[in-house]
Amino acid sequence: MLYNLLYPLADQYSLFNLFQYITFRTVYALITSLVLCWILGPFFIKWLTAKQGKASRSGMMVRRAT
């Protein structure tokens, strides 16, 4: 999305030229999803535990049985 929004502005602001590079966007895509995990992870795990906790305590194996 940032590519579609910002790269066309590169004519006026040469900084936005960066957004044409796949390598640049790949690195920041990696960092974005990693940081989102760090931020959301603890809340997410609490939420999952609350949702599934009751079932687990009753002695089932939700686990990764496949």
């Binding site: 579609n4 796949i22 790949t26």
Partner: protein, 290 residues
């Protein structure tokens, strides 16, 4: 160590962060990105149904096998038809510098690779961090390959198929690596959360899709050798038990075999990671062995 009380379906976190990051950084006019997201989220949906049924019905059965396969065929079929239209129906064979034009047989082949990879990653998902680390290692290897395949000069120099537009999938892989690392942060031994089928099927499907988009299904089989090994161990175990009544491994998938042999869980995990890293490097080396 007790695994009870640890929540599953953490794969939802992977899918959420991966999708947001891909949408933020990728070129949204690129069809590979949309097709890849469709397949990943579609396989995630199958996994979610499976996990949801396991939790709500309080057993380990989940989604019936035939429904799982039918849905995998459906989403895999859409992706295969999309790739068939967007790219040439060929498979790149490493070592022989040979591109095999499969014609219409390419469709079932792509579907087989997608379903096979997603199920193999799902089988591997049995110890803390055992599935997610090899997944991101393969994703890194594939990121390099799709970048090179999407670049006319590099592709020509390396004699790999040039796929215009596939370079954008590097961002898809990057977002996936970040989401896997972020998940591993919490999933590493002793795990605070498991990914569940919602994560495993989706990640496996995503790896299969990226490899198929650039005709590197064989390279995927090398890089994802750990997944192949896990799947083969199950097939060998079941076949041997049905045919001869004897088990080859103490327990399949094979990581349980080593656990039962007395290896500590982290030892099994890290040794599988090491093998996975080596295989990813070997897979990359095949780009020069032609």
């Amino acid at each position: 160590m007790s695994k009870q009380g640890t929540p599953t379906m953490g794969g939802l976190l992977i899918l959420l962060t991966f999708t947001l990051s891909t949408l933020l950084w990728a070129d949204l006019s690129n069809n590979f990105i949309w097709l890849g997201l469709m397949l990943t989220l579609g396989y995630g949906l199958i996994g979610w149904l499976d996990d949801h049924l396991k939790i709500s019905k309080q057993n380990s059965k989940g989604l019936a096998g035939r429904w799982k396969l039918l849905l995998q065929l459906l989403f895999g079929g859409i992706a295969a038809v999309g790739l068939y239209q967007m790219t040439e129906p060929m498979v790149d064979i490493p070592f022989f510098n040979f591109q095999w034009d499969m014609g219409l047989w390419y469709l079932p082949f792509v579907i087989f690779v997608l379903i096979g990879t997603s199920n193999a990653v799902n089988l591997t998902d049995g110890l803390d961090g055992l599935a997610v680390t090899p997944t991101f290692m393969v994703a890194i290897a594939l990121a390099v390959v799709v970048y090179l395949s999407g670049h006319a000069h590099f592709a020509k120099y390396l004699m790999i198929p040039y796929v215009p537009g596939a370079g954008e999938l590097t961002i898809f892989c990057g977002a996936m690596v970040g989401a896997c690392l972020g998940f591993l942060w919490f999933n590493t031994y002793p795990a605070q959360v498991f990914m569940g089928d919602v994560g495993a099927l989706a990640l496996g499907g995503a790896l299969g899709f990226v490899a198929c988009a650039v005709h590197q299904q064989f390279l995927l089989a090398i890089a994802g050798g750990v997944f192949v090994l896990e799947a083969v161990s199950v097939i060998v175990q079941v076949a041997s038990f049905k045919l001869t009544g004897k088990r080859v491994f103490r327990m399949a998938p094979i990581h349980h075999h080593y656990e039962l042999k007395g290896w500590a869980e982290p030892k099994v995990i890290v040794r599988f990671w090491i093998i996975s890293l080596i295989l990813a490097l070997v897979a990359l080396s095949t780009l020069k062995i032609r």
